[in-house]
């Protein structure tokens, strides 16, 4: 029990939780935008992989870190465009196409990796984003190191979440995007293009997912490994449901989830970790995601037209 308290009262624990939450926040916001517009994007897992890879390889080739982020975002948008074109105007199964996009983006990353680094056994490291301490604020105990002594990408994650909330709920564009996911015929009657709105939302959302992937290589692990995304994309889909399709709640969900993840890593080092197999700790994030889905299922406010293709002139 004291071990648990020690963990919960340590600044490094909360700093780790915020760090672990950052890529999830980017990707969850990306998925949230897609789903708000009415499109489920199961390409998320693969788009995070291509973001992690392309950002990393760009920096490794000599470009700056922010250029890496930009390249990752572009790569994600490209695969997002592929998903959007197939499921929006053509109305193909969002499940099947999404999984296809994940397979394609993942294998493209691995193929390119092997092509560019044919002989390496351990991937080269890059110089990642450095911690940027906010003056004064970072000296606050506990909260300071957690929130104000992070890398720039973490600050960007929270800024993006605020921006997504602002655009979706405070601008005409946001209203149109949400309407495309709730009542596309009404949007069409207004003279707006449902197809255009949905494609745009998926492309932008996919760009954010890829930045979430790039966080892993450019801000967390400094290197690219196979399987490094490890289901984070699927967890983000659960987080969107958990957050009831609201950016603020989704960010809270990501933080809560990340706190549990940081906790399980630390609990492995306590006496508890001596008796409980470590695999059980590693299962926690996935079990937790399923539990969150069950918990939230009753009061879910799914966008009414999620996964429903819109074909003009069809009733």
């Amino acid at each position: 029990m004291t071990a648990l308290l020690d963990i919960l009262l340590s600044a490094t624990f909360w700093a780790a939780a915020v760090r672990i939450a950052s890529p999830l926040i980017f990707a969850t916001m990306g998925e949230l935008i897609c789903e708000r517009a009415g499109v489920l994007n199961l390409g998320i897992e693969g788009i995070m992989v291509i973001g992690a890879f392309s950002g990393w390889i760009t920096v490794w080739a000599g470009a700056g870190l922010w250029e890496g982020v930009a390249v990752a975002m572009l790569a994600g948008m490209l695969f997002g465009l592929l998903h959007a074109v197939l499921v929006v105007p053509f109305g193909l199964s969002q499940h099947v196409v999404g999984l296809g996009v994940t397979l394609l983006a993942t294998s493209t990353s691995y193929f390119a990796y092997r092509l560019m680094l044919p002989q390496v056994t351990s991937p080269p490291k890059i110089e990642p984003f450095a911690v940027w301490e906010v003056p004064v604020l970072s000296d606050i105990p506990l909260i300071g190191p957690a929130l104000f002594a992070q890398t720039p990408l973490t600050y960007a994650a929270f800024a993006v979440a605020a921006l997504v909330a602002l655009v979706l709920w405070r601008t005409p564009l946001g209203l149109a995007i949400r309407a495309a996911g709730e009542n596309p015929s009404a949007v069409d009657a207004q003279g707006l293009s449902v197809t255009g709105l949905r494609i745009g939302a998926v492309v932008v959302g996919s760009g954010l997912m890829a930045v979430g992937g790039a966080f892993l290589t450019l801000s967390a692990f400094s290197s690219f490994f196979f399987e490094m995304v490890n289901g984070r994309g699927w967890i983000c889909i659960a987080l969107v449901v958990f957050g009831a399709w609201r950016p603020g709640k989704a960010v809270l969900g990501a933080l809560l989830f990340a706190a549990f993840d940081a906790l399980q890593v630390r609990l492995q080092q306590t006496p508890l970790g001596q008796v409980v197999p470590y695999q059980l700790f590693l299962m926690a994030p996935y079990v937790l995601s399923i539990a969150a889905l069950v918990l939230m299922s009753r009061r879910a406010s799914v966008p009414a037209a999620l996964m429903q293709p819109f074909n003009r002139g069809e009733r």
Binding site: S93, L104, F111, I290
Partner: protein, 347 residues
């Protein structure tokens, strides 16, 4: 643009569009080979030769196709009822665990294999039952839960292989003890490296086809997939059908694990399946969810994998080209099938 249904698609459309999807995949393959600095035609030739160019190659392809037929069938029946089972990987491992549990014990020879297969199917069915009950009871989307179960199951297998199921003679490697001799699936022809798992897979495909096309349950399954609301209105017990479909689907996927352990490997390791569960989705879609077509689709997919492996050793094009080709063929094929029935018009 807008999609307009075509009442009676011409034969040219029905055959030409899927054929163009195949051609487009070949074009992607050539492009990737060129990017990798290899001769496109030679690369394609090496893939074909590596998949079917010799008796050894062909047998290797048949062996690789065996688990894919099972997982392809598992996905095909589930998707037919619009049950999105993306967890065939977890169900496969559940089957493999049962095969090891019963196959390394002291079961008498004659009952060992049937007991293993049955236990595997039950375990696989139970693994999928969880997410499906969450769906029917609480409305929880099964896509995410089945996906997440794959990760949980892999960690569980890792725990078993380092704990209760660890091979005491394994020199510290995380692998299970070897199956008893009577618990191994025999080879179809003596001396040829092809085990009865393949035969079982063919029987499974035929059985699933009969269930789907010739039984009331199969009819209900298809009705639920076409329109759950209309099916419910017509008196089909939708949730019961979904649960039964899940049991069938999970059981089929588990047979892949049983067949890999009992037929090919003889023990369980953490890399038993290089994603057979996920690849089953590609197989099922290429087969247009038709159980009989799953067999050629699995052979095609297995051929791409085996051929790309062998080509990679000879031509140096990374073996991940196989996954890229399968993803492309999947996307091209679903688009082609749509365009058979719809034409794109402006406006």
């Amino acid at each position: 643009m807008r999609l307009e249904p075509i009442a009676n698609p011409s034969v040219l459309r029905r055959l030409g569009l899927p054929a163009s999807a195949l051609l487009a995949t070949i074009a992607v393959a050539s492009g990737l080979a060129a990017v990798a600095g290899a001769d496109p035609l030679a690369t394609l030739g090496l893939i074909v030769k590596g998949a079917a160019g010799s008796r050894f190659a062909a047998l290797e392809t048949l062996n690789r196709a065996t688990p894919l037929i099972f997982t392809g069938l598992a996905v095909a029946v589930a998707f037919r009822a619009r049950l999105w089972n993306i967890g065939a990987e977890a169900q496969l491992y559940a089957g493999a665990i049962m095969a090891v549990l019963l196959g390394t014990g002291a079961l008498p020879g004659a009952v060992a294999l049937p007991a293993m297969a049955l236990a595997a199917m039950v375990a696989g069915a139970l693994v999928l039952l969880g997410p499906v009950l969450l769906k029917t009871r609480f409305g929880v989307d099964e896509v995410v839960t089945t996906l997440l179960f794959n990760f949980i199951m892999l960690l569980f297998v890792s725990y078993l292989l380092e704990g209760p199921l660890k091979d005491p003679m394994g020199m510290g490697w995380p692998k299970s003890a070897a199956l008893a001799k009577e618990a191994r699936l025999p080879r179809i022809v003596d001396g040829l490296r092809l085990h009865w798992g393949f035969g079982l897979a063919l029987i499974a495909a035929l059985t699933v086809w009969v269930i789907e096309r010739r039984t009331a349950f199969g009819y209900e399954m298809r009705a639920v997939g076409l329109n759950p609301r209309a099916a419910r209105f017509a008196g089909v017990p939708v949730n019961a059908v979904l649960v039964k479909t899940a049991l069938l689907s999970g059981g089929l996927a588990a047979l892949a694990g049983f067949s890999e352990v009992a037929g090919l490997k003889g023990h369980l390791t953490l890399d038993l399946s290089p994603g057979f569960g996920y690849t089953g989705i590609v197989v099922a879609m290429l087969a247009l969810l038709n159980p009989l077509a799953v067999v050629p689709a699995a052979l095609f997919v297995a051929g791409v994998f085996v051929g790309a492996d062998s080509m990679s050793r000879a031509a140096g094009v990374p073996t991940y080209i196989a996954d890229m080709l399968l993803a492309s063929s999947l996307l091209f094929m679903v688009l082609a099938i749509l365009l058979v029935r719809f034409r794109v018009v402006r406006g």
